[in-house]
Symmetry: C2
Subunit: 390 residues, 2 copies
Amino acid sequence: MTHRLSRRIERLTSSLIRDILQITQRPGVISFAGGLPAEELMPELDFGACAADSRQYGPSEGEPLLRELIARGLSGLGLRCQTEQVLVTTGSQQGIDLVGKLFIDEGTPVLLESPTYLAALQCFRVYGAEFHGMPVQAEGIDPDALKAAIVRHHPAFVYLIPSFQNPSGCCYSDAARRAVAAVLDETGTPLVEDDPYRDLVYTSCDRTPVCAYLERAPWVYLGSFSKITAPGLRVGYLASSPALFPWLVRLKQSSDLHTGRTGQAWLAHFLTSSDFGKHLAHMNGVYAERRDTMQTALERHFSGLADWSVPAGGLFFWLRLVENTDTLAALKVALDHDVAFMPGEPFFPVTEQRYPALRLNFSHATAEKIERGIALLSKVLGECAVTAAG
Amino acid sequence: MTHRLSRRIERLTSSLIRDILQITQRPGVISFAGGLPAEELMPELDFGACAADSRQYGPSEGEPLLRELIARGLSGLGLRCQTEQVLVTTGSQQGIDLVGKLFIDEGTPVLLESPTYLAALQCFRVYGAEFHGMPVQAEGIDPDALKAAIVRHHPAFVYLIPSFQNPSGCCYSDAARRAVAAVLDETGTPLVEDDPYRDLVYTSCDRTPVCAYLERAPWVYLGSFSKITAPGLRVGYLASSPALFPWLVRLKQSSDLHTGRTGQAWLAHFLTSSDFGKHLAHMNGVYAERRDTMQTALERHFSGLADWSVPAGGLFFWLRLVENTDTLAALKVALDHDVAFMPGEPFFPVTEQRYPALRLNFSHATAEKIERGIALLSKVLGECAVTAAG
């Protein structure tokens, strides 16, 4: 039967991670696997007056007021962005999918950080992208390496997560941001900047969008409300340089006509209320504590097993394991002990750049669970590394 | 710049209709153009208790209770469908997009009714489909013509709207449904059955899904809540034969992770309440009256100008014009007179099968506006036909 399906289907990668994530939702499992915000910190969804006006079909671009608020926010970050350049999407994932539709044919070269967001890899792969990875270093990717890779591979676009990168947690330095933008401008290479974590910040650091430094290169900036409000609403957005925008709107229209209106209306209301600032400050306070709790637990249990940095924001620790370890096999053992993490393998765009690593989410579990889970995990990984060496 | 974009972008058709539809939203325009349900008949959206449990990320397949209700509904129509075969989508349009992703590469042959739903044409065209059209006759497509077209073109799938077809309004006879299913089974050709209008019925007629008659051929059934509740929610669904389902779920996950949860929760509540049946009966009563009002107005003003049938359900009249008319040019003239319709051209999958026609929506305008608008429209079209002949 498969001979009748599109070639795209052959490129759908294994649903392994998907299957594993379903297991981690088993009651009693301490999960550091997903990128889930904490339910108990999410704002109350009071749709009230929004509901009646949100019933009819709406504009593909999104609700005018929400678009205006987004444009204003982006302008405040230094991005030259009018309301007319903002497209509301059904979660930031749809923004990634629209970028794939816009740029990628079979064999289209794409340049990305290595490691990078696995769902972006899966999505771009479905469209037939050919990946080239650039190692993530302490201050971001190396601008010279970026230039060399562009000259060599002629990518259709470069996909970057400069602030609290997923999975590495890296936040590009100001110098790296400017240098990357200069290379993109010089070569005229489009930038897709994915920025879902920017408002989850625990240690002050520069987060000016790289797009804000571009003078000539085309750009798409992807934003999300999922991490700071309620992901169940499925409302994200993108903004783009003017020439790309009409194509993105038409691809959006073809994908789902428009994004659900009730969530958009509620967000427009919430973002302009005094509750929003308080909510964000509270959420960041709790997440900062959880990050610190995990850091303390990691210092106690993972010294000698892994190297890592303390993330200044976002949702994840990224542990580079000292011993060669089959982290997928280790995950199975961990699940037997009712603790889950995300194996590092699927985050690498090309096999040769892989190293043994794990991603640990610190936003979802409570402090007590973080301490218990990290202790359990260090035992499992200690055993698995020995097994691999034996 | 366009050289950097995907080949898909070259296939994005003109946004003419999109631009026109925006004009029709100008205050004072009587619009028969869109497929809009009437706001004043939409149920109240009282999210109440749904909201709190809908904030976190949810399953890609959709909310379990809603999936179960959909499966039960489809089983009641004779479709062999388990809950595990139901995927909630971000509107029925996303179902169409997922079908495109699943089946279509550049040059993939697709068989469709002629005329057919223009947004499906646009969506499949973006993926590179090569269209072959089958004329819609009084009782549906001709099963012998279907078989000949399958043998000749080897389509990846056949896309049909057997109940209250958009734009023709045709409802396939029971004999045609069975005969079409037999041809698909015999040739093993997948069926994509789009069924968004099935519950909008004003004159009793058989509406058993063609999928229910299939014994062997793979199938995807697309359903919508937009026409019977509130399209602004963006909740639709698909069900498929078991072999296709895992691919569709993974394509859905890659497209937007999952559909907004609040709308799903509200729908599960509303569909099981006693209000639902009352709401549907009332909506159908009002739409039946509007259909009859439009029929009376058409008889008065369009006799001799066009041929049409009275639709037994759905949202549209389809007028085949007697005189050769440039309906796109006529639309511009009509808009000068503050009345809008949908030109027939873009509904035809292949140019050679085109004939001058218009689609008129009867669900959105009030009786008074229907009468006034049809009178206006007949004048405009009378003039435009004369112009074309002169």
